[in-house]
């Protein structure tokens, strides 16, 4: 009887995720344009990727992205959360403001930043240029495009970390904090020896999820630069999307999807172990 209860969830999940995922793995060994019959080509899709300059560029960009998101949002989140704990009064108000960027669609955020900040005619960049600052639209240059996009995603993201860490910090036993204070702990000592150890499980979980999410990043890159200029901001997910739907190299796209999944799989392994470690 109870098996019947979980049936709808499982049927939908397996039909939408598992079966297509298995097909993707199979397709990675075929050449297919989405219309005619697939042709088995063994490892050729992977060999192609190995020799594909853009693939390495995209992989490198995903790793840079991971490094950026493992540091900035987590540090900003921790600092802001600890300050919210310090002031207490107004913490709900601040949390709501910090979450505004998170609840807004990536498409909207991307366009607002493009038009009102980065734009060399209508944005803040243009305004500052007129005051003599040597600025330019970061999205227009190969050296800075990826970082230009990352800044917008960081803006959208750090509030989430702050709110998560604040929720965790509130569960750190008050006595520990008081004891440290009575012994005259400074802010950094408090962070290092009481607060961070107290919420370590949450930080670890967020870092694992950050690795997974960093390999999934799509919306901001696709909307703001389409991976350009000259593939300089291409990431694996936008590259796979382009291969499948623009160039109709579905086998090639499937091979990229498998590479993305491998990074996620390693992180998922740690994630599941952590979940199990929590008991229940």
């Amino acid at each position: 009887m109870y098996r019947l209860f979980i049936l709808p969830t499982m049927i939908i999940n397996i039909a939408v995720i598992s079966i297509p995922a298995i097909l993707t793995i199979i397709l990675a060994f075929y050449r297919w344009d989405g219309i005619s019959d697939p042709v088995f080509i063994g490892l050729e899709n992977f060999e192609r990727l190995w020799n594909d300059r853009i693939f390495w560029k995209a992989l490198r960009n995903n790793l840079i992205w991971t490094a950026l998101f493992l540091t900035f949002p987590i540090i900003i989140g921790l600092v802001v959360a600890s300050l919210l704990l310090t002031v207490r009064r107004g913490s709900t108000f601040f949390q709501i403001i910090y979450l505004f960027p998170l609840v807004i669609s990536a498409v909207i955020s991307a366009r607002v930043w493009q038009g009102m900040i980065y734009n060399p005619q209508s944005g803040i960049v243009a305004l500052l240029e007129r005051y003599g600052l040597d600025l330019y639209d970061p999205l227009s240059r190969t050296a800075t495009a990826l970082y230009g996009v990352a800044v917008v995603d960081l803006w959208h993201w750090w509030g989430f970390m702050a709110v998560i860490f604040f929720a965790a910090l509130r569960q750190v036993p008050q006595e520990q904090i008081e004891a440290a204070r009575l012994e005259g702990a400074t802010y950094f000592q408090m962070m290092r020896w009481v607060l961070i150890p107290g919420i370590m499980p949450t930080i670890t979980l967020m870092m694992i999820m950050t690795v997974i999410w960093s390999f999934l990043v799509f919306d901001f890159v696709y909307v703001m630069t389409q991976g350009g200029p000259a593939s300089s901001s291409e990431v694996l997910s936008t590259m796979a999307y382009r291969r499948a739907f623009y160039e109709l190299k579905v086998g090639n796209a499937a091979a990229i999807a498998i590479v993305i999944s491998l990074f996620g799989l390693v992180a998922t392994f740690f994630y599941l172990r952590l979940q199990r470690g929590e008991g229940e």
Binding site: T9, L83, S122, A244, A257
Partner: protein, 277 residues
Amino acid sequence: MNMLESRNTVILSYFILGFAAFTALFPLALMLLNSLKTVPEIIASPLAPPEQLVWENYANAWKHSKFSRTFMNSAVLVFLTTALVLSTGSLTAYVLARKKIKTWALVTAYLLATTTAPIQLFLFPLYFGFAHLGLINNIFAVSVVYCAIYSPFSIMLLRTYFLAVPKELEEAALVDGATPWQVFSKVYLPLVWPGMLTVALIIGMYTWNEFLIATTFLQNQESRTAIVSYFLLSGQYETNWGELMAGAVLVVMPIIILFIFLQKKFIDGITGGSVKG
């Protein structure tokens, strides 16, 4: 760690928190401010207040994005997805919370694993499969896809609400001869509805904002969502940033209003399951 802080520490803390709040709000303030200006005014300075309020920007954005149609599509999609996630997810959450059977650990692990699967891992066969079955531009089909993607998260969140219901209530109902379905619908559902509302808000927001699946599966004007039609508007013609900002305000408005009124539920939903005590 309140009360004992020195005055200076608190003032410095507020200063940094205020600066962080300014950073979060600044681009959104620019969006709102410039949505009421003409293009020459925006180019003159994005920070200056409008000389007179250009409400036409809103009317033009509404017309050019075909929002009267696409807002409706988004609303239908949100409704279908939320209904599907809540109905299938609550059943599963109940079983996972209350029934101790060996394979459930496997089910839980499977669901957690699918939350981390990249969309690209299943997108391509799914797209060509849907195309083959004639399901492209079908809003209901897309809501099923969303349901699969959002269910695991929703189930884990709902499960905590089911766990909070005293077990004795279920036992008493079973002694009185209630069927499993009656226990679920008559004992549990009336008690877990705050959790259902939280999940509905989060899933509704995700669905309203979602781009990748929506742009891939809903391609024609009759089925497009508000986000996708906004994306297309901003990619064509000469760029009228005033009109584009007005369109942006229109698209985010429903979410922001809900968020402001039901902030506590949002924060519960957003932090739910992520904090390991």
